[in-house]
Amino acid sequence: MMSSKEARSLKMLHLTTGRVGCLLSKQVVVALTSSGARMSSHGHHEVSDSVDMSQPMYWDRLDTPLPDRPWKDVLDSTDKSLKQKEKGPWTALSKEEKIALYRLKFNHTYPEMKRPSHEWKTVIGGMFIVFGITGLVVLWQCHYVYPPQPHTFGEEWQAKQVQRMLDMQINPIEGFSAQWDYKNKQWK
């Protein structure tokens, strides 16, 4: 079942990142792992972040909408009576009851899953920091690593090179020599 495997791999990914405490995935970790208060409603008796992978899992994913199990496993008496009422005609359910049933089955709605985050600021900031460090490295290397420039880069040599190109009439129609006024010996 590809959906469970994907969900399991995603869960494993943010388990490891939870341990590393990566700044970027912090929101992902918070969103997807269970907090202490919510753990009790699931009936899992884990203290740390370890999850029993042999049991059906819940996930909030945009691309796989229906998880293997509902959000709330362990129902108290009010929830149980609501579930009983759900077995009857649904037109008998009030709007609040329908919403309560939805919230029993799912953790986040699609808009809640899609809510924007501040992650982009971290990304852009990290990018600029790396650019800065790279710039410093390049500066150091320009000073300490590069050999002296070839003699053909000098001013005199470059001027003689330009004159030779004009004498040869390099690209006389649309290119280099086309910009040179041969009569008045100047650039057009």
Partner: protein
């Protein structure tokens, strides 16, 4: 709270019927623009250049400037 049923079929066809004529038209416009903006002026520029081109005169100019190895400048 009853919404209209969304379109379930013919989505690709609808998209193609909309986008393909536009794509063809834009491609033709791009090709025509390049032809009449770039290639025709370029052909004209080359034609005009070579209408006024005196081969021998230019050769002698280049020879005097010293760019050839097969013929030295006159004198020496």
């Amino acid at each position: 709270m009853s919404l209209a049923k969304p379109a379930m079929r013919g989505l690709l066809g609808k998209r193609l019927r909309f986008h393909l004529p536009i794509a063809f038209a834009l491609s033709l416009v791009a090709a025509a623009a390049f032809k009449y903006g770039v290639t025709e002026p370029r052909k004209q520029a080359y034609a005009d250049f070579y209408k006024q081109y005196d081969t021998t005169k230019e050769f002698n100019n280049m020879r005097e400037a010293g760019v050839f190895e097969s013929v030295r400048p006159t004198g020496k």
